[in-house]
Symmetry: C2
Amino acid sequence: MMVNAERFLADLHKLRSFGAAGSGKGVVRRAYSEADIAARAWLASRMKEAGLEVHYDPIGNLFGLGGDRSVLVGSHSDTQPEGGWLDGALGVIAGLEIARAAKEAGAAPVSVVSFQDEEGRFGVTTGSDVWSGHLSLQQADDLADDDGVTLREARARMADLAADFLPHERFSGFLEMHIEQGPSLDQSDDRIGVVSDIVGIRDMRISFAGRQNHAGTTPMHLRQDAFQCLSAFNAALNARLASLVTPTTVWTIGHVSLHPNASSVVPGRVTFSMQWRDRDVERLRQMGEIIHDLAQEVAAERGVEAVLEPVMGIEPVPMDAGLQAALATSAEAAAPGQWRTMPSGALHDASNMAAVMPVAMLFVPSIGGISHAFDEDTDEADLTLGLKVLAGAVQTLA
Amino acid sequence: MMVNAERFLADLHKLRSFGAAGSGKGVVRRAYSEADIAARAWLASRMKEAGLEVHYDPIGNLFGLGGDRSVLVGSHSDTQPEGGWLDGALGVIAGLEIARAAKEAGAAPVSVVSFQDEEGRFGVTTGSDVWSGHLSLQQADDLADDDGVTLREARARMADLAADFLPHERFSGFLEMHIEQGPSLDQSDDRIGVVSDIVGIRDMRISFAGRQNHAGTTPMHLRQDAFQCLSAFNAALNARLASLVTPTTVWTIGHVSLHPNASSVVPGRVTFSMQWRDRDVERLRQMGEIIHDLAQEVAAERGVEAVLEPVMGIEPVPMDAGLQAALATSAEAAAPGQWRTMPSGALHDASNMAAVMPVAMLFVPSIGGISHAFDEDTDEADLTLGLKVLAGAVQTLA
């Protein structure tokens, strides 16, 4: 089989025209929007032209089926509210090109998929979540977007296209190519990342309840300043995690809400988000323990109350060893010494697929590490290199 | 002259009935509201009964004049949106009782004042600010409250009562009794504070502009996390100020705004308030220098940009030495060994009066340091002790 890089890039640019918006190569193509449904209709026509059997399932996942049983390659074609042209779209068009090339070559069949609502207008990776069986269609139907529209109402716009859910057994494995969405490859000489794991995520909300007071009349030593608690917690946390974490472990305080949040008032309460990600469940647990203990210690030292809400989580997902090896072999052939094994810090449809079939992922660099933004981009040389690596791996599997 | 503690407390409770609201002894009596104008009418009637000449000036400051030239005693009778029964009201009723007792005793005349809008529905200490000449009536008239009502419109409700502004020369000095609004007296054995200075205030807004990034895909060492900049700045500031400040110096980060303030996004920008107060202008300047240098250092170390907006300020105001001495002598007589000299960390009408006449202030304890809240309170024994100390000082001056 011989992939056609020009045709691949032309299709990728064509897909961008559905919902092209903002600056540069920006795209706004929310799940179930007019642009999204039109993009899927165009994708379906390209699949048909390639001799693939078009299949929509009830949630709007679009398949181009290469045969009765095959490898599945793809990603999603919906975008963030302010999205780039590659995130998701890249993996779908790569899948289309490889399935098409396989048909042309009379090689073993390859199928392609564009999952629906990966970007979470309603849930998180909603289309693959429902197809994997983790989330029922009934539960999903009750999810609402920020404007109060339910998924039930949204998917009704595609109801005329929908057939049944496909049996997972039709597919021998799932491969997803994606931009890294981080700066690691871009800041190195490596052009390809073979994903080892999709990291697990832990999320919780913590509050310190001190005492709200007049910022002029309350001496420093009599204050129970909630912001000072947060600052002390953060500094101590960074120090205490240092000996436990790896270079790919991350933790973030991204949301902070002070009360009453006024310049002349000693803050009486702070609520903040604490998120941490790692590929190792045990390390995630140990980090949680440190966070929990430290919040209590800071509260006790400063005579305030710490409230720790329950920890929410998504488990780490290791990639299939066989598929990883196929990608690594293909990467070494196409880009000798210029690829690495790395975890994915972001969630992907592959996380859900791992519950029902072997999965693996491939990353190409994100310029400046930018994603979920209009100015997300990747050199076209890296896009076609990624296609080549992916096609090479598929060939050995199919 | 013999002050009547029972009559004083009865009047204080009666004043509370105008706008009584919320829980406990809470009061809502915003400047120029129906409750405020009714309270002033009642105060005027009590002044008249005491043989004082009632005088409203154009901004709504209400005077009870004891003679052609006299000591002036008072404070303000408007409240915060959620106020207590003492803040302001205490000083006004103390002034009323002392002026009344002086009249009854045929002693040297004493006058009383209730300033308008000390609590800043429109400006800050607006009534005394205008009378002192610092703010013109024209400028004040253009000030608007949170609902867009101008002071011009608000004071029109009292226009039928208004006479001219009084010449400052009618008064030999101004004495203001107030609750401390902080915990220092309440947490000690002292019952009286003789105010040495009203502290100066410096206020500025600082921003750190880092880089907004995905909280899963951006490794820790490649982040420019604006919240981490703030936390590092705060910790270093506390350490660096330690050798410069006195026990009464205060500094506060009371307002924090993160962008985009989402748990899965590395914060790209933080804007926060930095306020510091001290009685000494030179120390205020040195603190400002440390804050400025440190913000730049943190920004440079972390490769982000610091934006420091201009420093706004209110200058420190020392109390008159003679009036302070009179209060101290009286305090030692009424509460031997149970009083202290202390700065006021909060602004008061006395700050404005200091520009046009000698001023001094007296504090009584605030239970739990609470003020600007419905549950603000002080033991009645402390209220009457304060009245006694104030009356004793007035007697030696008049």
